[in-house]
Amino acid sequence: MSDLKLDNLHKSYGATKVIHGIDMQIDSGDFCVFVGPSGCGKSTLLRMIAGLESVTSGTVSIEGQPVNHVPAAQRGLAMVFQSYALYPHMSVRQNLSFGLENLHMPKQEVQERINEAARMLQIEELMDRKPGQLSGGQRQRIAIGRAVVREPKIFLFDEPLSNLDAELRVAMRAEISDLHSRLGNTMIYVTHDQVEAMTMADKIAVLRKGLVEQFGRPLDLFNYPANRFVAGFIGSPAMNFADGVIKGASVVLNAGGTIPLPQGRFDTTDGQQVTFGIRASHLSLDENGPIKLSVKTVEQLGTESYVYGQLDDGTDFALHQLGQVDVQQGTVINLAPTLDHSHLFDTDSGLTQRIDTAPT
């Protein structure tokens, strides 16, 4: 039972309010990812959980116990830093044992834990090197190892992959997921890369400006975004949005074109200003399609192709197709949305107009 509960959490730096009241319940064993644009408060939130940052108001509870005033070291958490924060002057072994020695743990046990962690992370041959002699991926493993040996209730990761190159990131992503499934610990993971979020998380919390916009399973966020922000943030390329007005059972786009809405899916009123949303891969080339796109760039990647262009009113739109498409720059093409995958948001509030919710 190493669950974590945040209760109306606030944080201000002097007059600057950074976290505006966050409630969250993270269950034991969950892999929870915090995503959000830069500066939204992800790191701050994580550091408050870790105890590195004081709480302005609200409660952080671990296993039901409020820990607001418990020092970082005694909360039973471990943190993996973005830059890993390995002690550069200590060997890998010393890096791993340092925290345990601070607890005055018997040598014997320290040794055992380290060896076990080393085996698990396959870093046995690196034990006597210094961090400076390791590659990025190896360092990452040591940083995780340092957390693992402490057998924490909860792991915290603050953008642990953002310093790596693309290739290594992919590999590390897999390793961390793997680790999670083996250890079964609660993990909280901060990133602003939503590919990471989508592929690793059991639950994702999307943050914006110190508030949680949506908290749920990845595919639920993808398929049932609660508002326009989440819809735009989750998924790559970002969802296409076009403003329009409800006319009966259809949306009339400001750029021209009428899109019929599936029945009973959206809760709309006539004349409502709405934003229609559709992902690039849910569009198809269709001579009769209601959406007219002036093509600006075509990117042929071999196995897939992207077409970028603008609607008549200047709204950017993108099309994503598998395989190689036969579209020329400068032409105008017609696109049809897959109606099942279309979204509708209130233009003013940004809230989804969908009635159905994700299956639980």
Binding site: M79, A85, L86
Partner: protein
């Protein structure tokens, strides 16, 4: 004011030559643009011409040249001149009046008996005394200063109120000239100075102490004042070193449950080691050269540099062979200093690898 200006620029052909140089450059390069730019363009005309004539190959040497000329004239040639003095004897400063003497000066400096009179030599005692005293000074001064510089840097690296203010306060003595430092402290440390009198008023001592010349105090105050004057500089370097230690290491250590003392011993000090090394060696070299402050303080003992200064007779009365003896001593000191600095270069370059 005006008089000083005219004194500076008249009676010497340097400024005139420089203006001719600039005008020539201006004619040759015909710079355009703002006046500052024109000046800079005109200033570099030899380099421009060289590049036009022969491409870029020789340019690095030309860029080095002005510095190297001055450097050669006033830093190198003195070294060689000193070698010249060390192998010739006599009282004259002119080489034509100085007969070759081989190693005689070294013997005058270091031998047991005086080669000119056959009596017991006194110079070696003085020199060795200076060496010994200087060593004592260095041995105490360097660790003490490094320690306090470190303490101050550690204190200033904390989140304290008015950090910039404190930093300035501790750096300020570095801005004072040795003359001022010497004068300042003499005022306090002379027999009837504030220190003695205050201590007497408090009943700590019974009669005033001649802090700077009392043999049991002179070294203490030499170290103290020298440290006072230079601490700020090294404090600053250490502070920079401390600030270069990533903050997240401390956070990681906090997560690891490290207490402050252990944080200092296991994280801060090891990571500061490279900087500490630089500071130690720099201050070591500086302490060996200690002279101006001590000279201004009139301390009782004679440092190595003061020995050279005095023996050379450049100030004070020239003595027979004093120049040669001083030159020999200076070469020995220079050798030690160069070795020390090479050690530093070696250690720092090893560190950076």
């Amino acid at each position: 004011m005006l008089e000083a200006l005219s004194n500076a620029f008249s009676g010497n052909s340097w400024p005139v030559a420089f203006i001719i140089y600039l005008v020539l450059g201006w004619v040759l390069v015909r710079p355009k643009g703002r006046i500052g730019g024109q000046l800079m363009s005109a200033l570099g005309w030899p380099i421009e011409i060289a590049q036009r004539l022969s491409g870029a190959t020789g340019l690095p040497y030309i860029f080095l040249l002005p510095n190297m000329i001055i450097f050669g004239l006033f830093t190198f040639s003195p070294l060689f001149i000193n070698i010249g003095f060390s192998v010739t004897e006599g009282q004259s400063i002119l080489f034509e009046n100085r007969p070759y003497a081989g190693l005689d000066n070294a013997r005058r400096l270091l031998a047991e008996t005086q080669i000119d009179t056959g009596a017991l030599n006194r110079e070696d005692d003085k020199f060795l005394q200076a060496v010994a005293d200087t060593f004592i000074f260095v041995i105490f001064q360097v660790p003490i200063m490094v320690f306090f510089a470190l303490c101050t840097a550690l204190a200033l690296n904390r989140e304290i109120i008015g950090r910039a203010f404190w930093r300035s306060v501790f750096f300020y003595p570095v801005m004072l000239s040795p003359v001022v430092v010497g004068f300042l402290w003499t005022l306090i440390l002379k027999r009837q100075g504030v220190l003695s009198i205050t201590l007497m008023n408090w009943g700590i001592i019974d009669e005033p102490i001649q802090w700077l010349t009392d043999p049991s105090w002179t070294m203490f105050w030499s170290v103290a004042v020298y440290t006072w004057a230079h601490l700020g500089f090294y404090m600053l370097i250490l502070l920079a070193g401390l600030q270069a230690i990533p903050k997240d290491l401390y956070e990681a250590a906090r997560m690891d449950g490290t207490n402050e003392w252990r944080m200092l011993r296991r994280i801060t000090l090891p990571l500061l080691m490279p900087t500490l090394l630089v500071v130690t060696i720099l201050s070591l070299v500086k302490a060996f050269q200690a002279f101006e402050e001590l000279y201004a303080l009139n301390v009782r003992w004679i440092s190595l540099v003061a020995y050279i200064f005095e023996t050379s007779g450049l100030r004070g009365q020239p003595t027979a062979n004093g120049l040669g003896i001083a030159a020999t001593a200076s070469l020995l000191v220079a050798l030690v200093l160069i070795l020390l600095s090479l050690l530093q270069i070696y250690l720092t370059s090893r560190q950076s690898k």
